[in-house]
């Protein structure tokens, strides 16, 4: 464990269609925004190398199709995820209401070892849109996140690059922590297994 091997952090971005998943990812990785990203079909990912404290890690950010029915296929990439980012559009209450089902869906498909402590991050996107259109207040969103075990929450604009960098820094940090705890748990399991290898009783005859 002491040897610093190369770390690949797998991050899954989920949320309703049109909330800005592709845009957030592209803003973070390529520092670009385009209003004409096509609807994502299937799945795709971008990678970015970042420093977390003094460690160089590679983040693999998975972008998915927003329409529910496309979730049933190709969830293979959920497995081994280190962090899940839930995105909604602050101007679309429906997309906020859907956060719970996205979260549940992820926990079922990815089946992490310790679902209660698995790191999620919630992003409320499109805060650049005029205030009158806003449907979900910051207060409401934060209350929700608190109720789900203090999920970190950021209000972002992919278009104007607001809080995107900060959000992904937290995502990277939490993902790395998760990755390390998973490794630790695997080691623990291996140790425990050795004990199980030696059954105490033998036969009762």
């Amino acid at each position: 464990m002491s040897a610093r091997k190369k770390v690949l952090l797998k991050v899954i971005i989920l949320g309703d269609s049109g909330v800005g998943k592709t845009s957030l990812m592209n803003q973070y990785v390529n520092k670009k925004f385009s209003s004409s990203y096509k609807a994502t079909i299937g799945a795709d990912f971008l990678t970015k190398e970042v420093m977390v404290d003094d460690r160089l890690v590679t983040m693999q950010l998975w972008d998915t199709a927003g329409q529910e029915r496309f979730q049933s296929l190709g969830v293979a990439f959920y497995r081994g995820a280190d962090c899940c980012v839930l995105v909604y559009d602050v101007n679309n209450s429906k997309s906020f209401d859907m956060l719970d089902s996205w979260r549940d869906e992820f926990l079922i498909q990815a089946s992490p070892n310790f679902p209660e402590s698995f790191p999620f991050v919630v992003l409320g996107n499109k805060i650049d849109v005029e205030e009158s259109k806003r449907q979900i207040s910051q207060k409401r969103a934060m209350a929700y996140c608190q109720s789900k075990g203090n999920i970190p929450y950021f209000e972002t604009s992919a278009k104007e690059a607001i809080h995107v960098e900060e959000a992904f820094e937290v995502i990277a940090r939490n993902a790395l922590a998760q990755e390390e705890s998973e490794e630790y748990n695997e080691d623990t399991w291996a140790t425990v297994n050795i004990h199980f290898d030696d059954p105490q009783g033998g036969c009762a005859c």
Partner: protein, 820 residues
């Protein structure tokens, strides 16, 4: 057998074959030394001579395996006087002055030549590149044109126009003699003639001469031998075609019906599997080029890989260094400086993907260097040879040269309609044309309505006008249904969701295509997220059509991806009603892709899984190891028929060819397979995980050559079809053999086996060469099945043809209901 009569000696005649005057000064102009009154041996029995045009000595018949029994002789091409009845017929070789039917190909044992022996020896040694025009008359050879009647002396003379084919097997140095077998049109074969080149004075002389001229090798790179000379004589006077399937076979004066069996037919797979189609080799030049280039590339690749593995950020610099290195071949240097590659370097996501794309780009560039602009059959053959090594090349006819083929224009189409506007062509012919050549842009608006089944193939113009009118009315009615109730509808949460979804998707569908680009209209709904940016009339039409579809197909509704399917149709039609109905028709085929349970997509991915297992097991194993055997990486391509992978214009071409359902209603899966095969080497050498495979295929978007892909796909379909047929035939055979062996095993001892029982035939005694009929097209197939002793052969392991694979052979469209 008497010597030529002397009556005409010295008299000069001008021999002019009927119908074709002799060009002055041609090699065949016999005016100077010609002698009169030679014979027509197949028609008269008088004892005059025939002209000995060419001959070669030390050509043997080997009646037994014992060399002592070999009979030396001469092979000769002689000219007889044409029979009067044939004067105006069957002169097919226009450039020759000697009609084919006046020629005979003969073999005579030395012992039978008598006084003529010296003439034969002399003609053998004549160098016909020198200017001699002397004519030698010899006694007519025996007019024998069937092998059975030649059994006594083996001597024969076959009229050249009776020859079907020549099988020329070149010598295998130090092991076998070169041989020639003549097959006649009535299905007969003459005993093989063996060329003892080292004894033959003329061959020795010709070989020596070639070496002097720095050309010790014949045209195809093999050692020069006597048979080549015979072929050369034949080509002087007759049309001789090299069979494209059998390397050693040459067809003489083939009719189109003769050529047919040599082009594989889908209905007769045995021909191709049992035949020696594996003999076909790629052209040497291409291989040499590819080989050299590959080597260089491999070295460069390792260099790059080593550096990339250290730090990804160095990539661009490394690529630049490589471009400046003097060791880099010019092709590669040119490639590295193209804007595409430069852009690619800016966009890379990980070293491995970058490298894989780079490798592919290099391979493509190398390919382009080789093929220039147009695909030809040889390119396709080479490609199959290198990338699908485990396959035999089964069908060359697939790789049609596209140079002369043009898309179907509206003008041409209209010329196919009669006065009532009814199509006068067979539907299959029309589909074949469109499948291969696609449509001219001006023809799409009309013909897509036929392809998509709005217009029946047997409709008249009046009927089509009526259809169009009623469809327009129907669309207006459907649209009014929801439009008039919009206030109520806007209280329905599902409707609002769908409407918003459509709105979002239309605003991000094909906005780079001119008709969808504008934002000149104010948005009708001030609350829309797009109210600020504006819209245009075509976007609004798109939204209306999709909402109407959502209300029309209530079980499915609008699903993401449909806007991608509608956009090209609307852009071509520019008529909302007709575009709507054309889209609905298309959706009948695509519906299963969008089912809630995703069963349709799952089914297609399973089919692809089976298809790759059958067609390319090695690639399949690799994909499995790379965690990609769920083929999810093809999801986008299959969901919307490669809409995101090809450029706009190419999508139109691809879709209209797919709509023909010409080979299969699921031909799109072969397009996917073609893409996989094209990139198989990159995949197998560079991509090791689910993520890199997915990324690699996603990033192919915008880089795929459609023509190339279509040709490959067609090729693969034909290979698939043959594999299925072969497997089916073999499994029937195996079942039959099993039942025969079972019968013979259970027959009571002492009772004789049934006379026809295959298992009773002697095993291991090959038929003698003289009695074995030469292979004829179409016959070869039957022999492998009929070989005695096949019953004892261990059953071949046959692949499983799953029901999913069988469905690929159907042209019937699979609807959402049909798939459940």
């Amino acid at each position: 057998m008497s010597a030529p009569a002397g009556s005409g000696k010295g008299k000069q005649i001008v021999y002019t074959p009927p119908g074709s005057p002799s060009p002055p000064g041609s090699l065949h102009d016999l005016s100077d030394y010609d002698e009169s009154e030679y014979n027509t041996i197949t028609h008269t029995s008088s004892g005059r001579g025939v002209k000995l045009l060419h001959t070669k000595s030390k050509v043997y018949v080997h009646p037994t395996r014992n060399a002592k029994d070999n009979i030396p002789g001469f092979i000769a091409l002689v000219q007889q006087k044409p029979p009067p009845s044939a004067s105006s017929s069957s002169t097919s070789f226009a450039s020759s002055t000697i009609p084919v039917h006046s020629l005979l190909l003969a073999w005579l044992p030395e012992s039978q030549l008598g006084n003529a022996y010296s003439t034969y020896v002399k003609v053998d040694l004549i160098d016909d590149s020198s200017d001699t025009r002397e004519t030698y008359l010899v006694p007519p050879p025996p007019a024998v044109s069937t092998s059975a009647s030649a059994t006594g002396t083996y001597a024969f003379a076959v009229p050249v126009d009776q020859i079907y084919s020549l099988i020329l097997r070149p010598p295998n140095s130090g092991w076998t003699f070169g041989s020639l077998i003549i097959n006649t049109k009535n299905g007969d074969s003459f005993p093989a003639l063996f060329f003892h080149d080292k004894e033959c004075a003329s061959t020795i002389e010709q070989t020596r001469k070639r070496i002097r001229n720095f050309d010790p090798f014949g045209e195809d790179g093999n050692q020069f031998w006597g048979g080549e000379e015979v072929l050369r004589w034949m080509k002087k006077y007759a049309r001789v075609e090299h069979s494209r399937l059998e390397r050693d076979t040459y067809l003489v004066e083939p009719q189109s019906s003769d050529e047919k069996p040599w082009v594989p037919k889908p209905k007769d797979p045995q021909d191709n599997f049992a035949g020696s189609s594996a003999n076909i080799k790629a052209p040497n030049v291409a291989n040499i080029f590819a080989g050299g280039f590959d080597k260089v590339f491999k070295e460069v690749k390792w260099n790059v890989l080593e550096r990339l593995s250290r730090v990804t950020n160095l990539t661009r610099q490394t690529a630049a260094e490589i471009a400046d290195s003097p060791n880099v071949p010019p092709q590669l240097r040119r490639l590295l400086k193209t804007p595409e590659v430069a852009a690619l370097q800016d966009e890379f996501d990980s070293a491995r993907i970058y490298l894989a794309r780079w490798a592919m780009a290099i391979a493509e560039q190398a390919d382009k260097e080789k093929r220039k602009t147009v695909w030809s059959s040889s390119d396709v053959m080479r490609m199959e040879d290198s990338e699908l090594g485990q396959f035999e090349i089964l069908d060359i006819a697939v790789s049609r040269d596209t140079r002369d083929r043009k898309p179907l224009t509206l003008k041409e189409w209209n010329s196919w309609l009669d006065k009532d506007g009814k199509l006068t062509r067979r539907v299959d012919d029309v589909k074949e044309r469109i499948f291969h050549d696609a449509l001219d842009p001006g023809a799409r608006k009309e013909i897509w309505l036929w392809l998509l089944g709005i217009y029946p193939w047997d409709s008249t113009l009046d009927e089509r006008k009526a259809i169009m009118a009623s469809r327009r009315d129907e669309y207006v009615r459907l649209k009014a249904n929801w439009w008039n109730e919009l206030p109520a509808k806007l209280k329905d949460e599902h409707f609002i969701d769908q409407k918003n979804r459509i709105e979002k998707d239309v605003h991000r569908t094909d906005r780079t295509v001119p008709i969808f680009a504008g934002e000149n209209c104010p948005h009708p709904d001030p609350d829309s997220p797009f109210a600020e940016v504006g819209t245009n009339e075509h976007l609004e039409q798109m939204k209306d059509m999709l909402i109407t579809y959502n209300e029309y197909n209530t079980t499915l509704g609008y699903v993401q991806g449909m806007s991608d399917l509608l956009a090209p149709i609307y852009a071509v039609m520019q008529d909302d009603a007709m575009a709507f109905w054309a889209f609905c028709q298309f959706m009948k085929q695509m519906e299963r892709n969008f089912l809630r349970d995703q069963s349709g997509m799952r089914n297609q991915l399973v089919t692809i899984d089976h298809l790759v297992q059958l067609m390319d097991p090695k690639l399949y194993l690799h994909l499995k190891a790379a965690d990609s055997a769920d083929f999810f990486f093809l999801f986008r391509m299959l969901l919307i028929w490669f809409k995101r992978e090809f450029a706009w214009e190419d999508v139109l071409v691809l879709w209209e060819t797919l709509w023909t359902n010409f080979y299969s209603s699921q031909f799109v899966l072969f397009i996917a397979l073609a893409l996989l095969e094209k990139h198989r080497n990159v995949v197998m050498n560079n991509l090791t995980g689910f993520d890199t495979v997915l990324k690699y295929f996603n990033e192919l978007s915008g880089t795929i050559d459609l023509t190339d892909t279509r040709i490959r796909a067609e090729h693969l379909f034909k290979q698939f079809e043959k594999k299925v047929e072969y497997t089916d035939r073999k499994s029937v055979q195996q079942r039959e053999t099993e039942s025969i062996s079972w019968k013979s095993l259970t027959s009571v001892p002492g009772t004789p086996a049934t006379p026809n029982s295959t298992s009773a035939a002697p095993v291991g005694a090959p038929p003698t060469p003289a009695s074995r009929p030469g292979p004829r097209p179409g016959q070869r197939a039957a022999t492998s099945a009929a070989i005695p002793g096949a019953a004892q052969k261990k059953n071949e392991e046959l692949p499983t043809i799953s029901p999913e694979l069988r469905k690929l052979l159907s042209r019937e469209v699979i609807t959402a209901e049909g798939q459940l």
